[in-house]
């Protein structure tokens, strides 16, 4: 999307400082997610330190965890699960929600009504309970986590996309397309969708943050990514006993979650503000 690229370039050139910090943080964590396993000095499950909750040192940059594993290595692996899982789920939720919303807005009538009520039903189920029940029933696995976290965030995206699309469907250029004899698919994809890409991407960024927090929450409860692998949330949980000592093993993953979500939020805010100014 060249327009999106243009917005990013404008952000880099003249955007607010907070936006640039956000972009830097997000890029940092994406790089960590992609390249982490190659950068990690030790294998993810290797017991390398005789000490547990070791302090930061030249050998273990971020100290060691409750079993004497290298925190930096585990963090780099964990970032991969958290970031990529959340990104996948956010994309899935965004595309399903938007596709349904476009169908509802362009078709209207009973299709719109049925979809909206189905989404209301889905939104009325408490998301954490929903996730816990499914994990309890089927056992935790990566595909299931992906599916759960996207299903939970489809209704929210649907509502926003439907509100945007309904406004656009009322515009004259859509009436012109209808009067030209265009089909619903053309109207949805060519006339309506290009005008809602920007707010939808911002919305997807927001969902990404929510999903990071949801996955971290699930992992903290021991229902997320299973050992020896770990995402950022399970890193916090497994090292919880180090909290009293102020061990880097628990501070660093918590800090990682914080910087990732705050960074994403700053970036989204800056992009939204950039759009408002135009």
């Amino acid at each position: 999307m060249s327009r999106w690229g243009g917005t990013l370039r404008a952000l880099l050139r003249s955007g607010p400082l907070s936006g640039r910090i956000g972009l830097a943080l997000v890029l940092f964590w994406f790089a960590a997610a992609v390249a982490g396993p190659w950068l990690a000095p030790h294998p993810v499950g290797a017991f390398v330190d005789r000490d547990v909750f070791g302090p930061m040192s030249a050998r273990f940059w971020l100290g060691s965890d409750y079993l004497g594993r290298d925190v930096l290595s585990r963090l780099l692996w964990g970032a991969r699960y958290t970031v990529l899982l959340a990104l996948g789920a956010a994309l899935l939720a965004g595309s399903c929600g938007t596709a349904l919303a476009l169908t509802a807005a362009v078709r209207g009538g009973w299709i719109d009504e049925a979809l909206a009520r189905a989404m209301d039903t889905l939104i009325s189920i408490p998301s954490k309970i929903f996730a816990l029940v499914l994990v309890a029933a089927f056992g935790s696995s990566l595909p299931l986590l992906l599916l759960i976290s996207s299903v939970i965030y489809i209704p929210g995206n649907f509502r926003i996309a439907r509100a945007l699309a309904t406004n656009l469907v009322g515009m004259d250029f859509v009436a012109v397309a209808r009067a030209r004899g265009e089909g619903a698919v053309h109207i949805a994809l060519r006339e309506v969708l290009p005008n809602m890409v920007q707010p939808l991407l911002a919305d997807m960024g927001l969902r990404f943050v929510f999903i990071v927090l949801l996955l971290s929450g699930l992992s903290f409860l021991g229902l997320g990514v299973q050992p020896p692998y770990a995402d950022l949330g399970s890193l916090v949980r497994e090292n919880i006993s180090g909290l009293t000592e102020g061990a880097p093993a628990i501070i660093m993953p918590a800090l990682a979650i914080a910087t990732l979500t705050v960074g994403a939020n700053l970036l989204i805010d800056a992009l939204g503000a950039g759009k408002g100014r135009r």
Binding site: M171, D172, F173, A175, V176, R178, A179, R180, G181
Partner: protein, 596 residues
């Protein structure tokens, strides 16, 4: 000789390093009205707002002097300006509907300037407001203040806005196109009341407008602006009758529609292209062929290939609905539409691609009719690909031909539409319809959103194209003088019914339905003094008459209604050779009424 009340000299306003108002000077003697006239982008509103010390974000007053009485506006600080605004200088905006807060009562908003400046107590302020409501001829002045903006009409809101502006007895009132959004019949009433109220208050006024005829009625002096430069300034009569500047002459010429020749009778009176019979349409559930909210009732007309039909009516008359019904966007509830001898399905479903291609709709507002996400080339190529299967180089060549046809440079093709001017957008809007190669063009108020000069050029273009390409046109407008100059046939809608219909010659006979007469009389003429003499003897004959579904819809406003007849029985349809009208008066009676 005393100095004039208000003086502006060498005013320069810059935005983004460019002068949008450049060295403008004029003066207003106390109690007089000066009009600032020009097209959009001429800097007329910017200049007017500068008199309140206000510039839009990003712009600033970079030079010159503005004086009101003894006060130098350009030297005032923020506190000084706050004390000035709404008290000594007040502002009447173009769209009162957008300027009122929808969640507060009218009274609370009208008396706000008095309360904010601590000029009066609430009781005293309300008494003053009611006196102003009465002076502005608002209905039930005692109780209208308790209402909310959405309960009132556009004309009423505009008058209430004037009450709000005049309540502090300001020295200067700035009126920014205050009647542009109103129907022509409402405009006359509002103008009269404004003129009287301003004269009574003794304030000086600045009247910003693009409409020379309106300005001729309101202003003592006229200043013509273009691209931020003052072209001519002088007494209204002098500027209008003996303009010195070339641009002023262009403006005056554009305001007078050029009479265009009637389309030649197609040989042997060929079969009609479009025939609409007894069409009823509206919104809501349809019962017995009548929708819950009927907008059009029993509309019929016939259009020959290559001919032009003008549809006139005020807002709410159903004229845009007619175009939507023909295009199939709003399925009709009753009646039939035949196109090229074949019955058209009511809705979009069931129409063939060929039928879609042959009927093209051009919307009023090109800003919303063109998809902002697309480039000019994308917009123009779509109908080419969709109807004609043109792709690649062939499509590109045709897009360039279309751009030539509408007199736009070819390199505009790659640009997104959002950077184009209003006139350019409207041309693209038109070109998209032409790309289909239609037989019938439905033009819905295509020039209303444009400046006079740009609008005249678009009209010229449509007229030229339809002659060259032989396209029949349904031209929908609220401007009766344009329609009469432009169209072969004229159809007048009121309250969803056809009240009069005829050929252009038939229309020239001078005998008209009372509503058509009212419309014609309401079009401002360019000579000063017209406003004072128009509308005499136009008071409704039966005010408060019932509005019945079957009765004449114009009855409550009709100056020649007959008690016992018009309010009892439906109006009969009279037919003459080339015209027809819906009224209790026959031709002879109407002719007599004209002479009154």
């Amino acid at each position: 000789m005393t100095a004039p009340h208000i003086e502006v000299s060498g005013l320069t306003i810059e935005a983004g390093g460019r002068a949008i108002v450049n060295d403008v000077s004029f003066a207003i003697p106390r109690g007089q009205v000066t009009a600032l006239i020009g097209e959009s982008g001429s800097g007329k509103t910017t200049t007017a707002l500068a008199l309140m010390g206000h510039t839009r974000p990003g712009a600033r007053i970079s030079g010159g002097m503005i004086r009101i009485g003894d006060t130098r506006i350009d030297q005032l600080g923020e506190a000084g300006l706050t004390a000035l605004r709404g008290r000594r200088v007040s502002y009447i905006a173009q769209s009162a509907a957008a300027a009122f807060n929808p969640s507060r009562t009218i009274m609370a908003q009208v008396i706000e300037p008095l309360l904010v400046h601590g000029l009066a107590g609430r009781k005293e302020a309300e008494v003053k407001a009611i006196a102003l409501f009465r002076a502005l001829a608002l209905p039930s002045p005692e109780s209208i203040g308790a209402r909310y903006p959405h309960q009132l009409s556009g004309g009423q809101l505009q008058r209430l806005m004037a009450a709000m502006a005049l309540i502090t007895d300001p020295e200067l009132v700035i009126l920014d196109e205050p009647t542009t959004a109103l129907d022509v019949t409402t405009q006359v009433d509002v103008l009269k009341l404004f003129k009287a109220a301003i004269a009574k208050s003794g304030a000086s006024a600045i009247y910003v407008s693009h409409d020379l005829a309106v300005v001729a009625q309101m202003a003592d002096r006229i200043a013509v602006l273009r691209y931020g430069v003052l072209h001519e300034e002088g007494p209204a009569r002098t500027v209008l009758e003996t303009p010195r500047d070339h641009y002023t002459r262009t403006l005056i010429a554009a305001a007078r529609p050029v009479e265009r020749p009637v389309a030649p009778e197609t040989a042997g009176a060929s079969a009609p292209l479009l025939s609409v019979e007894g069409v009823t349409a509206g919104y809501g559930a349809v019962r017995d062929g009548v929708p819950a909210v009927p907008v059009l009732r029993d509309v019929s007309f016939v259009l020959a290939p290559g001919a032009t039909l003008g549809v006139i009516g005020e807002s709410g008359s159903g004229k845009s609905t007619l175009a939507r019904v023909i295009a199939g966007l709003l399925p009709r509830a009753e009646g039939s539409v035949h196109f090229g001898g074949v019955g058209l399905p009511a809705g979009l479903k069931g129409r063939s691609r060929e039928q879609f291609r042959r009927v093209q709709l051009v919307f009023q507002n090109a800003d919303t009719a063109l998809n902002p996400a697309h480039s000019v080339a994308t917009i123009l190529s779509r109908p080419l690909a969709f109807y004609h299967g043109l792709k690649g180089a062939a499509a590109r060549a045709r897009v360039e031909e279309l751009l030539d046809l509408i007199h736009l440079p070819r390199d505009i093709a790659g640009r997104p539409v959002r950077g184009l001017s209003g006139g350019q957008k409207q041309r693209i809007n038109l070109a998209r319809a032409l790309a289909a190669g239609p037989d019938l063009l439905l033009c819905d108020e295509v020039t209303s959103a444009l400046d006079t000069v740009v609008g005249a050029a678009i009209l010229e273009l449509i007229d030229d194209l339809r002659r060259r390409l032989g396209i029949a046109t349904v031209f929908i407008s609220h401007d009766i003088s344009t329609v009469r100059a432009f169209c072969d046939q004229v159809l007048v809608l009121y309250g969803g019914r056809v009240v009069e219909q005829g050929s252009r010659e038939g229309f020239a006979s001078g005998r008209h339905h009372p509503y058509t007469r009212l419309l014609m009389d309401s079009v401002p003429e360019m000579h000063p003094g017209w406003l004072e003499h128009t509308g005499e003897g136009r008071a409704p004959a039966l005010p408060g008459a019932p509005v019945g579904e079957e009765l004449c819809r114009f009855l409550p406003r009709c100056p020649v209604a007959i008690a016992g007849r018009c309010d009892r029985t439906p109006a009969p349809l009279h037919r003459e050779r080339d015209r027809q009208w819906l009224c209790h008066h026959d031709a002879a009676a109407l002719a007599m009424k004209e002479t009154v």
